[in-house]
Amino acid sequence: MSDAPRPVSHWFWGGFFAVLILGLVLAGLAGLRAGSHWLEDRLGRAGLPVPVRAAVKVTLAGGEALYLDPGQLAQLRAELQRDLAVQGEALAQRVREASTHAVATAFAPAYDRVPDFADWYYSLAGEYGRLWHALAGGVADYLAGRLEALVIEPSGLAQRLDELPAELSGLASEQTRALAAAFEGRLLERLRALASEPQPVRVEVSGEWDVAGVAAEVGQAVALGPADFARQAAATSAGAATGAVLAKKLGAATVAKTGAKLAGSAAKVGLKSAAKMGVGAGSAASGAAAGAAFCTATVAGAPLAPACALLGGVATGVATWVLVDEAVLATDEYFNRAQFEEALRHSLAESQAELADAFAEQQLRVMDGVIDRLASGLDALVRPVPAPPKDFVPVQAAGGR
């Protein structure tokens, strides 16, 4: 091997050869691309079928075959998925409205029962019941129980809440089936529109899509049984409970929401109790003196004068206590009842809205699953052409071993 420097001309020719190779490769590929476009353009203008690089064979109902190139198919999928998303939003809105309406109808009688609860609240029985439970603990539970007994149960709300999930599920299921049917209709409509365009030369088919199978896919996707809704119900507070349990929760929730007002009332109860204690102590002492005077005024009563005086005093004290308490309650009712009822209705309305949302969420979870299955199903629908078995051994086929 010589150490002499290589003449420049050899480097020049080497570089020339490299550039030549690169130029030939690029020119070849450019020519190939241009030829392909030219051919497609010419065939298209002549109204002849346009060859495509790859096609998916789509079999329409009735066996009619349609060939789509992957770009068209991807575009179709994207269009349908966008459409499905829009339809899904509209469906969700309809379900929310239906849930709001159904829950509002169920709650309507409960609002009419609010005055009954206020009547109890501003009664002596109610007052002493609250006092007793305030001392024993659990006044909130007691109030929730009374709300349930006076408002929720008589209005038939528990029973209506029991019926609501099935009613809403039926509605959601019907709406979902309608959405799926509309989806299938749009898919077939778009495919028929594509079938009316010039079809490509039937070469290079890379996948198959039997549209007759779409109906089955859609049917499977929307086959919602009670179990589907039950599963989703378990995930939401509204659906997991029976109407009775829900009504009890609702009572507690309403009481909690009316908490400020009730707390105010409780404070007033405390103040009133203190006033009554003072009044009661004074009236007991004066009652005892009056009793003693009455007992000593009679000959027969003289030996029992102390006991007589005590009994009379207590009775008079209690009567005075009750009279004062009733007067205070009446005054409180006169000034605050309207506000109290309004607060209670407001709390019921809040609970109603939460319940409507929870029911809607329960339905939407199931429907979202269906829409996802439809959307993702579009991708899974195209199946590659099945490969034949690899069992042809040329030597064996020719009779040799």
């Binding site: 010589s2 080497g14 030939l24 070849g28 590929l29 290079e204 088919v205 040329p394």
Partner: protein, 268 residues
């Protein structure tokens, strides 16, 4: 011979590895990458082809042509030779790249093993020709003969392997289905190369389908002959593949400029 033995083996193994990598990643390889590989292989093949062409041209112009003739003046600069070799190299590189897409595991192993065989052949021919040829031409002649022998070895191995390897049973399919199937098996991310690969794969599958149908229904000698011809045509590309691969391997160790310089020195 250019470079040490290890260096030669590494360079040739790199060609085999790049083809295997291309097959494994063709479905994700971008066009610049794919075209880069095509150019690289074409350069290797072109370098090997150019070396042989320089030898032939040297003999032709020095011994057969009159220096004052027009043909001599036309051929002497070497532009036509470069063009011809460039075109041939690009076509053979395309054969290599397209056929590499359908390599099976045993064929990949064959490519790697053949790089070692080629290194051995180069050494053996260099020793054989050491006392027979002029020193300046020993290495180019050894490379030229190594390409021929290696191409035959690879082709033979490929044919034997193909004869005994189970192929897809296409006889039961309609020809449209064979086209669908073959076209669907091409997964090349670069659309331009896919445009080349699909017709090649489809043509090969159709020939195999024809051969299988004829094999399934031997009627007479003519039919049998036709079946074998179709079958060989289906595998005919394997010879081009073997030839192109051998040239690509040798191209990594070729030095046509040395032969060129020798010719220039003799001309002066």
């Amino acid at each position: 011979m250019k470079g040490g033995a290890t260096s030669r083996v590494v360079r040739m193994l790199a060609i085999a590895a790049s083809l295997i990598a291309w097959q494994l990643f063709a479905d994700v390889a971008s066009c610049p990458l794919a075209i880069g590989l095509l150019v690289l292989l074409a350069l290797a093949i072109g370098t090997a082809g150019l070396e042989s062409a320089v030898l032939r041209r040297h003999a032709f112009t020095a011994q057969y042509l009159a220096p004052e003739g027009r043909l001599f003046r036309l051929l002497r600069p070497g532009v036509l030779m470069l063009l011809r070799q460039g075109v041939a190299a690009v076509l053979l590189a395309a054969v290599l790249v397209l056929n590499a897409l359908t390599l099976e595991a045993w064929q990949r192993a064959l490519l790697l093993g053949d790089a070692l065989l080629m290194a051995a052949l180069l050494g053996a021919f260099a020793r054989l020709l050491a006392g027979e040829a002029r020193v300046a031409y020993v290495a180019p002649l050894a490379r030229r003969w190594a390409v021929r022998v290696n191409a035959l070895c690879v082709w033979g191995a490929l044919l034997i392997g193909l004869l005994y390897t189970p192929q897809a049973s296409l006889a039961a399919l309609r020809w449209e289905e064979v086209i669908s199937l073959a076209a669907g098996q091409v997964h090349v991310a670069c659309a331009d190369l896919a445009l080349l690969a699909r017709p090649a794969t489809v043509a090969s599958a159709l020939m195999l389908w024809g051969a299988q149908n004829l094999f399934a229904d031997f009627g007479d000698a003519l039919q049998t002959l036709l079946a074998w011809l179709l079958f060989l045509a289906a595998f005919g590309a394997s010879f081009l593949f073997a030839w192109a691969y051998s040239l690509a391997l040798v191209g990594t160790v070729s030095a046509p400029w040395q032969t060129w310089r020798e010719r220039e020195a003799q001309a002066q």
